[in-house]
């Protein structure tokens, strides 16, 4: 039994087909209890009021948005090194999910920022680097759609993902530099993790688990769709 066995589409389909119902139910339980507990079962913050509760969506979404890119990097490397088609398809499947999570993080951050910072948007390094991540997702998805031959598309997007990761990382720290270089140091610190009270931490962990499971479930579903699309295309090619 090796992990690489599941590079075989048939085995992958069988395994994920069995796992998906459990994953979906578990995702539902984690997300629903996590969010309900977080929204209604925790006290209001003495300073932020009830707006603090957006943390239960914002922080897991932001974490998963970055993790999704990292997962795409790993699957791209697997595709370049071992040429497993499922790997490339999983990267393709993950990209729109990662982009949506980035948007959710930016959107919920803006909603929280308006009452707290008095503005929807500030050119804070962290906000800016998320915007940059969003643009990287856009380019990656656009490249998948633009190349016609599917193997070439997989190659090119994998290379782009590798190079993009390096430059996204560079941008993340260059942006820090730019903020110190041009403005006074930021008056708003976004160090939420250190300040999370134990009343919030358990529902927050549930939401983390929920978002993680949601991501895995969606990637499985989308990868299965991609595999079926390939099969349909192969059948069509055989019949004509």
């Amino acid at each position: 039994m090796s992990f690489w066995e599941y590079a075989n589409p048939v085995k992958f389909m069988r395994l994920t087909g069995r796992l998906l119902p459990f994953l979906s139910v578990l995702t539902g339980i984690c997300l629903v209890t996590g969010i309900i507990w977080g929204f209604f079962g925790t006290p209001d913050d003495y300073k932020q009021g009830s707006t603090v509760k957006i943390i239960f969506i914002h922080v897991p979404a932001a974490t998963m948005a970055v993790s999704a890119w990292f997962m795409m990097l790993v699957t791209s490397l697997v595709w370049l090194i071992r040429r497993h088609h499922i790997s490339a398809l999983a990267a393709k499947a993950a990209a729109p999910i990662g982009m949506t999570l980035t948007l959710i993080a930016l959107g919920t951050g803006a909603i929280w920022g308006k009452p707290m910072w008095g503005t929807y948007w500030a050119w804070d390094p962290r906000l800016t680097s998320f915007m940059i991540l969003f643009v990287f997702y856009l380019g990656y998805i656009a490249l998948w759609n633009a190349v016609e031959d599917s193997d070439t598309a997989a190659d090119l997007t994998a290379i782009l993902c590798m190079v993009g990761s390096v430059f996204a990382f560079l941008s993340r720290y260059a942006v820090n530099f730019w903020n110190q270089g041009l403005h006074q140091s930021a008056s708003i610190a976004v160090n939420k993790e250190q300040h999370v009270d134990s009343a919030y931490i358990y529902p927050l962990f549930l939401c983390f688990a929920g978002f993680f499971l949601l991501f895995v479930t969606l990637v499985f579903i989308r990868t299965r769709t991609e595999i079926r699309l390939r099969r349909a295309a192969a059948l069509q090619a055989r019949n004509t």
């Binding site: 380019g139 656009a142 070439t152 530099f177 041009l182």
Partner: protein
Amino acid sequence: MLALFARDLKLAFRSGGGFGLALAFFLIVVMFVPFGVGSDLNLLARIAPGILWIGALLACLLSLDRIFQLDFEDGTLDVLATSPLPLTGITIAKAAAHWVTTGLPLTIAAVPLGYLLNLPEPAYLWLCASLAIGTPALSFIGAFGAAITVGIKRGGLLLSLLVLPLYIPTLIFGAITVTKAVDGIDPMPTLVLLAGLTLFSVVLMPFASALALKANLT
């Protein structure tokens, strides 16, 4: 490799292609800024470093698709790929030729254009230095984008979408260097970071470009 470099230079000069166009585009971008924000000299002086860097970057972007596109279409690139010269060498020669025909003239043209934008006196040296050091990174990163999109019909817009995010660190360090010079702070640290970024791009990007070309040629 040198022969290929010389050939690309000759083509750029004789066909009247990207060489003058990039400069003209740079001039127009800089000219448009006062139309857009007004001709207040103090305001212009403050935004001049950013405008000059963004203008140079966009002008550089404009000529990127010429690096590989024409050679790909007429089959020259296939011939080059079967030659003993590795693909990495081909991309180095072509990116270097792109820099000589785009980055270098832009660096020189930035001086009079900086004067038009009322760039303060002490910043000129640093403007030239940052552009001279930073534009090779633009050419080598751009060559990667051009290699990725070479097989795509009408890939110009996609090329911009792919390349511009990769330009962010270069733009940040380049613009900070000049801004610091304007503010009278020592710009050397950011210039050194910019130089590091350029060395990084020059050394590593040709490998990525060669990979992308190989994927596109087979």
